[in-house]
């Protein structure tokens, strides 16, 4: 299946629609359903005037796109990014719909954003943007309508400002309005681990499908941020060995990979990493790591590759460099594999756990936070991680079974499940 067009300039919404069109054909969806699902149900674009610290008033552009809420309230992050566009937000909202559907949580998809660069904004200015964003959409979001979350360049502090503004406008306390709150302020235990652990829960199941024992496998990981760190931790706890990890060097503005045949020591690496996951090269050498070019992570002689950094990292140019020993790729990042590379992987028989299944642990835990907040009753970490494991494993099993039954690649099987669930919900509601 060719999930992407190669038209230029790159437009992520067109890509998302093309992906959907392919799946719609596979499912033989009727015209009305196709039209409904290839576009958002609702889109909000608005202006956010903010008085800056120097006394001037600056107007920021804000968005909220609610792609589909047939299966439940919308869910999706809010991005602060200078290159944000409505089409990016539309695409991400659609992908959120599919991600929620594939892990079978009763939520729809949404995404929001503000065109801004937080690096150039004071905390007070960022707070004003957050509060302004909420004031513009307060009537159209809420615990049972649309639940925002942190995303690119937004964090728990931004969520608390937004929550406070929402509660001020509504009167009362509505902790279920937003997720990504700090633990103790309505956040969920296990949120930090959720995405990385979710990747490994699906990885564990894929290894079983392949007849491999985790203890007998080696892995190479791209990225050393939150997702990668937690994925490495759980994979090692299952007995696997990570021999290579790459990270971004802020000073040199390039990535380096850190390789040690005996396996990386996660805790010691964390001691020499900055808060963005950048690893100190000199200290790493002292710990016995070979410091090699960042792209070399892909060429390691391992069984498993875990891209957990950025999109488009495995592409037509480098897919051929993947070592023949690689049996499995677990996509921790969003969109790390280009469609061209996907074809190469398919030809080589490499098992791919698609991004919107592998990294769905984050949104699943956000859903858990939403549930806990709405009940105002909070679960222990054991319980959160147990539910996460069961949810991810069930989702994986459904995709894996369909893939085997219909002889589909895992990515297509995941899309088929997700789109058919949403389409069915729309039909059940009598929309189409």
């Amino acid at each position: 299946m060719n999930l992407i067009t190669t038209s230029k300039p790159y437009n992520s919404f067109e890509v998302a629609q093309a992906q959907f069109d392919e799946v719609a054909s596979l499912l033989d969806l009727d015209e009305a359903t196709r039209t409904l699902l290839r576009n958002a149900l609702r889109e909000y674009t608005f202006s956010i005037p903010v008085r800056m610290d120097d006394g001037r008033v600056k107007v920021f552009r804000g968005f909220r796109v609610q792609h589909n809420d047939a299966r439940g309230p919308c869910k999706g992050g809010i991005r602060f990014h200078p290159q944000e566009t409505i089409d990016t937000v539309r695409a991400l909202a659609m992908w959120m719909t599919w991600k929620c559907a594939v892990v079978d949580i009763p939520l729809g998809g949404a995404k929001g954003g503000v065109v801004c660069d937080p690096h150039n904004l004071s905390a007070r200015e960022q707070e004003q943007i957050c509060r302004g964003w909420v004031r513009q959409v307060a009537r159209d979001v809420g615990p049972f309508t649309d639940v925002p979350a942190p995303d690119v360049m937004t964090n728990a502090q931004h969520m608390l400002w937004m929550l406070d503004e929402f509660e001020t406008l509504q009167g009362g306390r509505h902790p279920g309005f937003i997720t990504g709150k700090p633990v103790g302020m309505g956040g969920s235990q296990g949120r930090a681990e959720a995405t990385g652990f979710g990747v490994v829960f699906t990885l564990r199941e894929a290894l079983r499908d392949l007849g491999l024992e985790a203890e007998a496998t080696r892995a190479s990981v791209q990225g050393f941020g939150n997702v990668a760190q937690h994925a490495i931790r759980l994979y090692q706890q299952l007995g696997g060995t990570v021999t290579c990890v790459s990270s971004w060097d802020q000073a040199e503005q390039m990535a380096f990979a850190f390789r040690r045949e005996s396996g990386v020591d996660l805790d010691r690496l964390l001691e020499i990493a900055d808060r963005f996951g950048g690893i100190d090269k000199e200290e790493a050498r002292k710990q016995g790591y070979d410091v090699i070019p960042g792209e070399a992570w892909l060429e390691e002689r391992v069984h498993i590759l875990i891209p957990a950094a950025l999109e488009n990292q495995i592409n037509a140019e480098n897919a051929g460099l993947i070592d023949p020993s690689v049996r499995l790729i677990a996509e921790g990042a969003n969109g790390p594999t280009s469609p061209d590379a996907d074809r190469v992987l398919k030809e080589r028989g490499i098992y791919v756990i698609p991004d919107f299944l592998a990294n769905a642990g984050g949104v699943t835990c956000s859903y858990f936070e939403q549930v806990q907040s709405n009940m105002n009753y909070f679960w222990e970490k054991d319980e959160v991680l147990a539910k996460l494991d069961v949810k991810m494993t069930s989702a994986f099993a459904a995709v894996s079974e369909l893939a085997k039954k219909r002889r589909l690649p895992m990515r297509e099987a995941a899309y088929v499940i997700a789109v058919s669930r949403v389409a069915q919900a729309c039909r059940d509601r009598g929309w189409v």
């Binding site: 706890q237 222990e380 054991d382 319980e383 147990a386 539910k387 996460l388 069961v390 494993t393 099993a397």
Partner: protein
């Protein structure tokens, strides 16, 4: 214990195989789990169909292997806590706050989603298996009703119970016990067995009709039974009654119809079980995940009669005839003597016990102790079930010991008795701890237990095994009949004497699990009552050099060493003072 067939891995996605015994995690399975697996293999080789209508089986189980315990301790940094001198309560609470490893919680949640009947969460210790020592009663088992409608609630109770069992590895009594057998707590690893509880629900209670412990060798045979016939202790309800040394019914499988050696029917009634343990299926109890009995409830015979379970296990004392009539058809005081099963053979219980016991002893090549439960559902299509719950080796010395007539009359004799459990000679003990006769009153037995626990801990720490002498039934659950210690509180004792005192004469303790510890440790147990042939020479004991004196206890130390001899064939024994003190 022989090597059992390996366990299948717990598998969420492929349930079709319907494995009844599975494992989560890697590492060791521990003594209890290994015993159960050996039992599974033994039953597979036994023609169990001949016990029909009884279905003979091992209840479904899943073992949480020791890798989970290791990860739990390491990731929650509990090592420092358990190596320090933290109190029992603070250890238990710290374990409850800690998190189970992420790689197993999903399996546990999935497991509990598919099981809605009561579960026993049982300790399965590595050292128990490695040392062939009985650790029963040292580590905890927690029973959970597992009947909450929401899987999440059941999951929480399950994880609390697992953490409770883990914490029991490091409680003071467990540490004292390990040191008494020459091991450090850090060497211990704990697996956990999650096992279906066999029984039936009766309103707010869930329990088996019969629980039992059977041993293949018995040095305290009575009523013409042979030691090689072994001994069986039975109780109504959960086996906790027997494990805790409560009132149970003991008989020989060779002579199942012979009652324990109590003088009269009324005395039999006095010694028989009057209450029983069950899992509380009713109103949620006070929340306390650090309590073993959180979900247990004690009930009386009237409740058992109303439940319909008493009819299977009781007789009736007819006062005007001073006679005991099997069954409960007539009005009168109920006696839990299992007559409908042992005399009327309503189901072939004794035949099954004897066969399973013999098969286990043959398979392991040693004397064994087994635990079992019997469920006799009334009505419906459910078949009666005999569930084998535990198989473990007994360490029994059969080396003959001769006690010359002259030795019993020697001026060195401190204690002599014709009612001694155990067999063999013990030499080199330099310490003797005894309850001073002048300080003893039945109302002080709990305080004596506390004082003894401290003294025992000190002596264990000093690696000084000792002779212990006290009044009444050691380990009695009734503080008016003896000193209510559990085994860990006397774990350093290598010889135990229960004596009588003027106005305080009681029968020898029959606490089954306590009994097993005595035998397994080779601890002779003297009963020195007022009968002929039984004597405690207090004049000589009180003249021994005093090392320490407490409110109730005196600790004497004699470098020359005491000599203890027990002739198990004749049930005779003597404790002799060192030469220099005679």
């Amino acid at each position: 214990m022989g090597v059992a067939t390996p366990l299948a891995r717990f598998e969420r996605r492929f349930r079709g195989s319907r494995e009844r015994s599975t494992v989560i995690g890697s590492g060791e399975l521990g003594g209890k789990a290994e015993g159960l697996l050996a039992g599974r293999d033994i039953l597979a080789g036994l023609d169990v169909a001949r016990f029909a209508p009884l279905v003979v089986e091992i209840p479904a189980l899943t073992v949480l292997a020791t890798s989970t315990f290791d990860a739990f301790l390491a990731r929650n940094r509990l090592g420092e806590l358990v190596e320090g001198s933290a109190s029992e309560r603070s250890v238990a609470e710290a374990f409850q706050r800690a998190e189970l490893p992420a790689e197993v919680v999903g399996d546990l949640l999935d497991l509990i989603r598919h099981i809605k009947t009561p579960l026993a969460v049982r300790s399965s210790s590595l050292l128990e298996d490695a040392l062939r020592h009985p650790f029963a009663g040292i580590y905890e088992t927690k029973m959970i009703p597992n009947n909450q409608p929401e899987a999440e609630s059941r999951f929480r109770r399950l994880t609390e119970a697992v953490k409770f069992v883990y914490a029991s590895t490091f409680l003071p009594r467990a540490r004292a016990y390990l040191r008494a057998v020459g091991r450090e707590p850090q060497e211990e690893k704990m697996a956990v067995v999650l096992q279906e509880i066999v029984g039936d629900r009766h309103g707010p209670r869930f329990y088996p009709d019969v629980s039992g412990v059977a041993r293949s060798w018995n040095f305290y045979a009575f009523g013409g039974a042979e030691p090689r016939d072994g001994a069986v202790s039975l109780a109504l309800g959960l086996g906790k009654t027997i494990v805790d040394g409560g009132r149970s019914w003991t008989y020989s499988p060779g002579r199942p119809q012979v009652a324990p050696p109590h003088g009269s029917p009324s005395e039999l009634l006095d010694r028989a079980q009057t209450d029983f343990w069950a899992v509380n299926m009713g109103k949620a109890p006070a929340y306390d995940p650090t309590a073993e009995t959180e979900y247990l409830v004690k009930a009386g015979l009237a409740e058992a009669e109303a439940d319909g379970s008493l009819a299977h296990v009781a007789s009736t004392y007819v006062a005007q005839d001073d006679a005991i009539v099997p069954g409960i058809a007539r009005g009168g005081t109920r006696l839990v003597d299992f007559a409908p099963l042992l005399k009327r053979n309503a189901v072939p219980l004794n035949e099954t016990v004897a066969a399973v016991l013999g098969a286990c002893a043959d398979a392991t090549g040693s004397d064994v102790e087994i635990e079992f439960a019997l469920s006799l559902p009334s009505g419906g299509d459910l078949a009666p079930r005999f569930a084998l719950l535990q198989v473990r080796p007994m360490a029994v010395s059969r080396r003959p010991v001769e006690i010359a007539d002259g030795e019993k009359a020697s001026p060195r004799v401190l204690v002599a008795s014709d009612r001694v459990m155990g067999n063999g000679a013990v030499e080199g003990l330099q310490d003797l701890v005894f309850v001073t006769p002048s300080s003893f009153e039945p109302r002080h037995t709990r305080a004596i237990a506390v004082e003894l626990e401290t003294l025992n801990r000190d002596l264990v720490g000093e690696k000084r095994p000792y002779v212990l002498i006290g009044f009444g039934r050691w380990g009695s659950s009734d503080p008016w009949l003896g000193i209510p210690v559990d085994w860990a509180q006397v774990s350093g004792a290598r010889v135990i004497v229960e004596a009588c005192l003027s106005g305080f004469a009681v029968e020898m303790s029959q606490g089954a699990h306590f009994f097993h510890n005595l035998i397994a440790e080779g601890v002779p147990y003297f009963s020195a009552g007022p009968a002929e042939g039984e004597s405690v020479r207090w004049d000589r004991i009180l003249a021994l050099p005093v090392h320490r004196e407490g409110r109730f206890l005196r600790h004497a130390r004699c470098p020359g060493g005491f000599v203890v001899k027990v002739d198990g064939r004749r049930g005779e024994g003597v404790i002799l003072a060192p030469d220099e003190t005679s």
